[in-house]
């Protein structure tokens, strides 16, 4: 599988090519070139995944092995520690290759229509290529530092793409926020790497995730503030993952990131980059199990809380992309919970498998939802629900595909979301009944808010009818929708356990019908409520959505004021009580001291200079006096 290198090379070359020549590329050419190259990348990625999963070389005794295809030393740090760049193939990286290239290709095609005629069209495609390159590099990383490198690169691509409409103040603020919040989380990631690599004396995943936690054996007995070194390292790494995957309380950047172009939201902020945190935990999973199993339940609780929190907020948002953003946060919470409740190997590893599967299915249907939302926004030129309604007559393809995605995310069989969510719920049930009840409830909430969204877009009558008659999106935009809808229809029937499991051995998936029945009933009830409430709704979203509503509604609409808390902490505390005093201190105390020295020298010379009066007779007088004094002294001696 030496050709796997082209998966990385093609997008990188495309980035440099389009990026450097963007002024010269006229019209659609940048997009077409980018799309062709992405198609090639996709084909190669599929071939790599196919080769990996079906060739006998990748399995030993029926267990998938990690294959290090390339590994170059990039920077030698200490005797043992060196940052390498390379390609690591294993079940999750191959699965991610498929997910990323598929969604990326769909977004490339879709954008040909969506971004048509935009200023900076070539720049957009250059950034898309940069993102694809970085994200692919992240998933095939052979060592944790390579992952960190590409982790930062996806952060920057995300920054550049969110701020694509750089004249819009909201987009500028959102891109800055996204970068700084994730950067803050990356600080945790970096320190986590430093801690782990110090004890493991290696960055390589092969060494770190060696069975039995041998990598951290030298850290045994080392503890800090009551937790072991391994627990610290792994928790800090999870902080990095939580930042990218928008876990509470680091989720604040993701809703704002919706200021970017909608296809970008589909690619980066729904399907690929935001699941990097999940991927990171999955990548380090053996180490979590072996070295610090006490961290995993904590991760599960963070995931569950985030999931609930985001689902509640999603029920009250009026911007359709914001609803989808909170839904993404909530669904990532599901994946994190699945990993958190999982064990290692066989049936214990159900959560791991389920989390990965949900990652896969979610990427497809959430990309579909975003692209569908993009088609709607393209048609009505607004993000607000109040501008929409009754669109099913005008946009049949978008309508049907959107419905399929909604059913999938709500967990209705036979759509893909049902299967993966069912496995997650089963894993939760084995962890604790409370967790199961909570997650099932969140699944119900999900069904409710998704159908609220669906009905408000496609059924109810619009309040604000100022726009012209909407029309269906062009073919380049609805073909990707159809493709993704098809994937959503069949993905549930993939025997996922044959490919991706916690230990690489085959696990036969069987549906736990008790769990399935409960989750279907919950979903159907939630959909029914949404149907009654929103299907025939006439007037929605009053002028000010906050008039005549309860305090809870108001708080949820305002996303529970978390952003305000952050603004308060950064501006009112850090800027006002750290930066401003430092600025003052520097100018007045430190520099003041230097100026004081200068002033002191000046003042001293002011005292002395009076001696040089210019009066000749005074000089003579002093001279004579001096001579007399010297003579007196000489005589006295």
């Amino acid at each position: 599988m030496e050709y796997s290198i082209f998966v990385l090379l093609l997008p990188m070359i495309m980035f440099l090519f389009i990026g450097l020549l963007q002024g010269k590329l006229k019209g659609q050419s940048a997009g077409i070139i980018g799309t062709i190259s992405m198609s090639l990348t996709t084909i190669i990625a599929y071939a790599v995944a196919f080769d990996y999963f079906f060739s006998p070389e990748s399995k030993i005794d029926g267990i998938y092995q990690k294959i290090v295809e390339y590994n170059w030393v990039w920077l030698q740090l200490t005797e043992n520690l060196h940052i390498d760049l390379g390609i690591l193939l294993d079940p999750i990286s191959c699965m991610m290759l498929v997910v990323i290239t598929t969604v990326s290709l769909m977004v490339h095609i879709y954008s040909l229509g969506y971004m048509h005629g935009e200023r900076g069209f070539a720049r957009y495609y250059a950034f898309l290529s940069l993102f694809s390159f970085s994200m692919l590099g992240l998933v095939v990383a052979t060592n944790i530092f390579q992952m960190y490198i590409f982790w930062e690169l996806v952060g920057v691509s995300s920054y550049l793409l969110i701020g694509f409409y750089y004249t819009k103040p909201a987009a500028i603020a959102a891109s800055k926020k996204a970068f700084i919040v994730t950067r803050f989380a990356d600080l945790g990631f970096l320190i986590g790497i430093l801690v782990l690599s110090f004890y493991a004396q290696s960055f390589s995943f092969t060494d770190l995730t060696a069975p039995g936690g041998v990598a951290l054996s030298s850290a045994a007995g080392v503890s800090f503030l009551g937790a072991s070194a391994a627990a610290w390292g792994l928790s800090l790494i999870f902080v990095g993952g939580a930042g990218k995957s928008a876990m509470f309380p680091l989720h604040i950047w993701l809703p704002d990131a919706m200021e970017g172009p909608t296809p970008v939201s589909a690619l980066i902020h729904a399907a690929t980059m935001v699941v990097a945190g999940v991927y990171l935990v999955a990548r380090m999973f053996p180490l979590y199990i072996d070295a610090a199993p006490e961290v995993l339940p904590g991760i599960a609780y963070v995931g569950a809380f985030t999931s609930l929190f985001a689902a509640v907020i999603a029920c009250f948002q009026s911007d359709i992309k914001r609803v989808l953003a909170f839904s993404t946060i909530s669904q990532i919470g599901f994946m994190i919970v699945a990993l958190g409740v999982s064990g290692m190997g066989g049936h214990d590893g159900l959560g791991y498998m389920a989390g990965m599967w949900h990652l896969f299915t979610h990427a497809m249907f959430k990309a579909l939802l975003f692209l569908g939302a993009g088609a709607v926004i393209h048609a009505v030129h607004s993000n607000e629900m109040s501008a929409m309604g009754g669109l099913r007559k005008y946009m049949p393809v978008t309508h049907i595909t959107f419905l399929i995605a909604c059913l999938a995310i709500a967990g209705i069989p036979p759509f893909s979301g049902f299967f993966s969510k069912d496995e997650i719920l089963s894993a939760c049930l084995e962890f604790s009944p409370v967790m199961f009840a909570l997650m099932a409830g969140i699944a119900g909430l999900t069904a409710f808010y998704m159908f609220r969204l669906y009905y408000r877009i496609f059924w109810s009558t619009p309040t604000d009818v100022s726009h012209h008659t909407p029309h269906e999106a062009p073919a380049v935009m609805y073909l990707p929708l159809i493709f993704l809808a098809a994937v959503t229809l069949v993905a549930g029937f993939i025997p996922f356990g044959d490919f991706v499991t916690s230990d690489g051995a085959v696990y036969h998936i069987h549906i736990n019908w008790t769990v399935a029945t409960i989750s279907i009933v919950v979903a159907v009830v939630a959909i029914a409520i949404a149907t009654v409430k929103y299907m025939k709704e006439k007037s929605k979203a009053p002028e000010n959505p906050l008039n005549n509503v309860g305090a809870f509604y108001r708080a949820a609409y305002r996303r529970f004021y978390i952003d305000e808390v952050y603004m308060f902490v950064t501006h009112k505390i850090i800027f006002a009580y750290i930066s401003r005093p430092i600025k003052w201190f520097d100018r007045h105390v430190v520099d003041g001291f230097m100026n004081f020295l200068a002033w002191g020298a000046n003042a001293l010379s002011g005292l002395i200079k009076g001696f040089q009066s210019g009066q000749v007779q005074q000089y003579a007088y002093v001279f004579v006096l001096g001579v007399i004094i010297l003579i007196v002294i000489a005589l006295a001696l």
């Binding site: 009066s613 210019g614 009066q615 000749v616 007779q617 003579a620 004579v624």
Partner: protein, 103 residues
């Protein structure tokens, strides 16, 4: 009539201190110049006296005095030229006004 050396020295000393007193107290630059001449001549007298009384066979004292007189003449010429120029510039020759060289 032999006048003792002390008498000469006494005269020279009186001249010297008169000169210094004059130099420090007079406001007129010309008067200061005259005081300066007094000091110089007091020194000249000392040279001659020491030569005459202590080393009668040597001549260095006399020569030195002659040089000194010559230098004094030149110095006076330059000084008076300067004083005239000062007068032309500031219309008086008070020494308090000549403090341009301070600081």
């Amino acid at each position: 009539m032999d006048i003792p050396m002390q008498c000469y020295l006494l005269v020279a000393a009186v001249m010297f201190f008169c000169g210094i007193y004059g130099f420090i107290t007079r406001h007129n630059v010309l008067a200061m110049l005259i005081s300066l001449e007094l000091i110089l001549n007091a020194v000249n007298i000392n040279f001659v006296v020491f030569n005459r009384f202590l080393y009668p066979e040597a001549l260095e004292g006399y020569f030195f005095t002659l040089f000194s007189i010559g230098v004094a003449a030149g110095e006076t010429a330059v000084a008076i030229a300067i004083i005239i120029n000062i007068y032309r510039n500031i219309k008086n020759i008070k020494v308090e006004n000549l403090d341009n060289m301070k600081f």
